[in-house]
C-alpha cells in the first residue's frame, strides 16, 4: 500500500516519468533518419517553391506523386532486403525482365491474367534464386545479386534480341482496361500508380511493424547469429525478403507498362542505384536492422522532387547529374550523423 500522503509525490514522479518517456519518444523520432529525410524533403520543397512558381502547382505535385512510384515501390522492396542484412542489386534487371515477359506473353496471345501472373512469378523466382544463393548457401549477396543483375539483363536481351516490344495496338481482352487503369486518376486527381503505392506502403508497413515476420526480419538484420540462436530461421526470413523485393520490382514494371504500353529491353538499367539512394536517404541502414518502408518512400520522393525541380529550373542535364550526386552525399551524411548521435545518446 502506498500511504496517502505519498500519493502526490508519486503522482508528480509518475507524470515526470511519463513526460520523460514522451519527450524521449519525440526526441527519438525527431532524431530518426527518416525524419531527417522528411525534413530535407520539406526544405527542398520550400527552396523550389521560392525558385519557381511552377513547383507548387497542384498538378505538378500530383505528377511528382506518380513519377516517384516506380522508385518508391522498388525502394520498399529493397528495404526488406536491407533490413534483413542483405543487399539486392538485381532489382533494375528484374524490372526489365518482368516488363519483357509480360509483353511477350501478351504478344504471343496469352491472356492478360496469364501475362500478369506469369510476369510476377518470374519476379518472385528471381528473388527466390537470390535468396537461395545468398541466404541458404551464404554466398555474399552483393556478389550474388551483382551476378543476377547481369544474368537477368542478359536473359531479357536474349528474349527480345534487343528489340523493343510495341503493345500500343495489342488487342488482348482486358489489356485496354489494364492500360486505362495505369493512366487513371482516383477522383480525377490522384494517379492510380500513387494509389497502388500507398496501398503497398500500408501493407508492408503493417507487415514490418505488427507481424512476427517483421519483428524477425529486424532481429535477423540487427544480429543474425543472435536471431538464429533465438530459433529464428534466418535463411527463410531473408529469402522471403528477396522475394518481396523481386515482386515489388515486378509490380513497378507492370505499372510502367500499363502507363505506356511499349517495352524496351533495357528498361530499368541503372535504376538500382537510385533505388538504393532512395532507401538510404530514407534512413534505411546498409548494415541491416534499421529503417522503415516509410523512410524509403520519403527517400524516393526526395529524389523525385529533386529531379523535378532541377528540370523545371532549366538546369542542364549534365549539371543535374552533379547536383543529384551532391545532394545524395549531403543527405546521407546528415543521416549518418543523426544515427551516430542517436546511438551515442542511447
Amino acid at each position: 500500500m502506498i500511504p496517502d500522503d505519498a500519493k502526490p509525490e508519486l503522482s508528480v514522479a509518475w507524470h515526470r516519468a511519463l513526460a520523460s518517456v514522451t519527450w524521449d519518444r519525440v526526441r527519438r523520432s525527431a532524431a530518426s533518419p527518416a525524419t531527417g529525410a522528411i525534413g530535407a524533403l520539406v526544405l527542398m520543397g520550400i527552396a523550389w517553391s521560392f525558385a519557381t512558381p511552377y513547383f507548387l502547382d497542384p498538378g505538378n505535385l500530383l505528377d511528382v506523386s506518380r513519377q516517384m512510384t516506380t522508385l518508391a515501390l522498388m525502394a520498399i522492396g529493397v528495404t526488406f532486403v536491407l533490413l534483413g542484412g542483405q543487399i539486392d542489386l538485381s532489382v533494375g534487371s528484374t524490372y526489365g525482365l518482368v516488363s519483357v515477359v509480360f509483353a511477350l506473353l501478351l504478344s504471343q496471345g496469352y491472356g492478360l491474367a496469364v501475362a500478369i501472373v506469369g510476369a510476377l512469378v518470374v519476379a518472385a523466382v528471381v528473388g527466390l534464386m537470390n535468396g537461395l544463393l545468398a541466404a541458404y548457401l551464404r554466398l555474399p549477396s552483393f556478389i550474388v545479386t551483382l551476378g543476377s543483375l547481369e544474368a537477368v539483363r542478359g536473359i531479357t536481351l536474349q528474349l527480345t534480341d534487343g528489340a523493343p516490344i510495341n503493345l500500343f495496338n495489342n488487342t488482348t481482352a482486358g489489356f485496354a482496361t489494364f492500360a486505362d487503369l495505369g493512366q487513371a486518376r482516383l477522383f480525377g486527381l490522384f494517379p492510380s500508380q500513387f494509389v497502388v503505392l500507398i496501398v503497398v506502403l500500408l501493407i508492408t508497413g503493417l507487415l514490418l511493424s505488427f507481424t512476427r515476420y517483421g519483428l524477425r526480419l529486424y532481429a535477423v538484420g540487427a544480429n543474425s547469429r543472435a536471431a538464429a540462436l533465438a530459433g529464428i530461421k534466418v535463411a527463410r526470413i531473408q529469402t522471403i525478403a528477396f522475394m518481396v523485393s523481386g515482386l515489388l520490382a515486378g509490380l513497378a514494371a507492370l505499372l510502367g507498362v500499363a502507363f505506356i504500353p511499349a517495352v524496351t529491353p533495357t528498361a530499368g538499367s541503372g535504376l538500382e542505384l537510385n533505388v538504393f539512394a532512395a532507401a538510404v536517404l530514407g534512413g534505411v541502414s546498409l548494415f541491416g536492422g534499421q529503417g522503415s518502408v516509410l523512410g524509403a518512400v520519403v527517400g524516393a520522393a526526395l529524389l523525385a522532387v529533386l529531379g523535378n525541380g532541377l528540370v523545371i529550373l532549366g538546369v542542364s542535364s549534365f549539371a543535374q547529374t552533379t547536383a543529384t550526386g551532391v545532394v545524395i552525399i549531403a543527405a546521407i551524411a546528415v543521416n549518418v550523423l543523426i544515427t551516430r548521435r542517436r546511438n551515442q545518446s542511447s
Binding site: D63, R153, P164, G256, I260, A267, V311, F318, Q320
Partner: protein, 370 residues
C-alpha cells in the same frame, strides 16, 4: 544505297565472284551520290593479299590468306559495337543475319550493352587476339579506337568502321551515318513543319532538345547538326539538352517535368527513340497541334504516333545497311580483291512523315529501321 542493296540481292544464282563484282559496281554507283570520300587513291594490285591505301600498305594476315588461297569463303568476322542493347541494334542484327546468309560468312557481334568505351576497347582487343578474318568496329569517338585499329591493320586484319567513324585510323572504309548531317536534316525538317504553325512574327519560341544519353557522341553530333540548321532563326530559343530516360514510362516523367518548367514549349527534338515518350506526352495532353516533334528512329510506337500526326517526323538512319554493307565489302575484298568503292560511305538518312509512314507500320521495313 538502298537500291544497290536490293540489286545485290536480286543476283542470287549468279556465280559468287560475278555477283560480288556486280554488287561492288552497283555500290560504286550508289556511293557516288552519298559518300564523302572515294577510294581512288588505293592500289588494288595483289589484293586481297596486298593493297595500298592512303594511310599506307596493307598485307593480309597469313591465316586468312591461306583461306583465300585454298578457295574457302566461310570467313569469320567480328563486329565490335557499343550500346548493343539499343533498339538500333535490332536492325543491325537483322543486317548481320541477312549478310551472313547471303555471303556464307559468320559475323559475331560483341561489345558492351551500354556506352562503356573501356569495355568496347577490351572487346576489340579480344577480337584481335582471336582468329578473325576481319573486324567491323563502331567508333565511340574519333580517337579512342585509332591505335587499336592501326594495330589490327598492322597485323593484317582488315578493319571497317560502321555507324560512327574514326577517320584517321588505318581502316578500309566507313559505312555509316554522319550524325551532324542527320541532325541538320532533322533541323531542316523541323523548320519546314514548325513554320506552318509558328510564324517568325509571333515568336519567340522555345524548342527543347532531348536524348536518353545527351553526352553520347551521337547525340552531341545530332544536337550540333540540329542547332546549325536553326542557327539563323532568331525567334527560336533552343533549351536543354534534357535527359529523357530510354524506358518509355520513365521517359514520360522526364518529358512531363520539361513541360512543367516550360509550359509554352513550341517544339521538341529528340536525338533518339525517346521521341516515343515525347510524342506520347503530346498525344495524352492534346498538344499535337501546338508542338512540333521531330526525332530519330522508328522503334516501337513511333510510326503509330506519326500516323496520328502527333509526331511530325522521324529520321531513319538505315541501320540495317550499316551492318549489311560493310560485311559485304569485307567479303568482296577477300573473295574478289575489290576494295570498298568509297572510303566514307554515308548511308544517308530518310525523313518519315505521315506521308510515307504506312510502309513502316508493322512491316519488315520497320524492323530494318530498328
Amino acid at each position: 544505297m538502298r537500291r544497290s542493296m536490293l540489286s545485290t540481292r536480286s543476283v542470287a544464282g549468279v556465280g559468287r565472284i560475278g555477283a560480288t563484282l556486280m554488287a561492288a559496281a552497283l555500290l560504286a554507283v550508289a556511293c557516288g551520290s552519298s559518300s564523302t570520300g572515294s577510294n581512288s587513291n588505293v592500289n588494288t594490285a595483289g589484293a586481297p593479299f596486298k593493297a595500298q591505301f592512303g594511310w599506307g600498305p596493307f598485307q593480309l594476315n597469313a591465316a586468312t590468306a591461306q583461306k583465300v588461297k585454298s578457295g574457302q569463303s566461310d570467313f569469320h568476322f567480328t563486329m565490335v559495337g557499343f550500346a548493343t542493347s539499343a533498339s538500333f541494334y535490332s536492325a543491325i542484327r537483322l543486317g548481320i543475319a541477312d549478310a551472313d546468309k547471303k555471303f556464307g560468312v559468320k559475323t559475331d557481334l560483341v561489345g558492351p550493352t551500354g556506352f562503356t568505351t573501356a569495355d568496347e576497347v577490351s572487346a576489340f582487343e579480344t577480337a584481335m587476339q582471336t582468329p578473325t578474318d576481319g573486324i567491323l568496329v563502331q567508333c565511340p569517338d574519333a580517337f579512342t579506337m585509332v591505335p587499336l585499329i592501326n594495330q589490327a591493320a598492322a597485323k593484317g586484319i582488315p578493319v571497317m568502321t560502321f555507324n560512327t567513324d574514326c577517320p584517321t585510323a588505318d581502316r578500309f572504309a566507313w559505312v555509316g551515318l554522319s550524325n551532324v548531317t542527320a541532325g541538320a536534316v532533322a533541323g531542316t525538317t523541323f523548320l519546314q513543319y514548325f513554320r506552318q504553325t509558328h510564324p517568325a512574327s509571333q515568336g519567340p519560341y522555345q524548342v527543347a532538345m532531348m536524348s536518353g544519353a545527351p553526352s553520347a557522341p551521337f547525340a552531341v553530333d545530332r544536337f550540333n547538326g540540329f542547332q546549325s540548321a536553326l542557327a539563323s532563326e532568331k525567334d527560336i530559343n533552343l533549351i536543354g539538352p534534357f535527359t529523357v530516360n530510354f524506358d518509355p514510362s520513365q521517359g514520360y516523367n522526364d518529358v512531363q517535368n520539361v513541360f512543367r518548367g516550360h509550359p509554352n514549349l513550341a517544339g521538341g527534338f529528340n536525338a533518339d527513340e525517346t521521341l516515343l515518350s515525347f510524342g506520347t506526352y503530346l498525344d495524352r495532353n492534346g498538344l499535337a497541334s501546338k508542338v512540333t516533334a521531330v526525332g530519330f528512329n522508328l522503334s516501337a510506337g513511333i510510326p503509330e504516333l506519326i500516323s496520328k500526326k502527333t509526331v511530325t517526323a522521324a529520321i531513319g538512319q538505315y541501320p540495317y545497311d550499316q551492318a549489311y554493307k560493310p560485311i559485304q565489302m569485307l567479303h568482296d575484298f577477300l573473295t574478289a580483291g575489290s576494295l570498298p568503292p568509297c572510303s566514307a560511305c554515308d548511308v544517308g538518312s530518310r525523313v518519315i512523315t505521315v506521308d510515307n509512314v504506312a510502309q513502316f507500320l508493322n512491316s519488315p521495313a520497320a524492323k530494318q529501321e530498328g
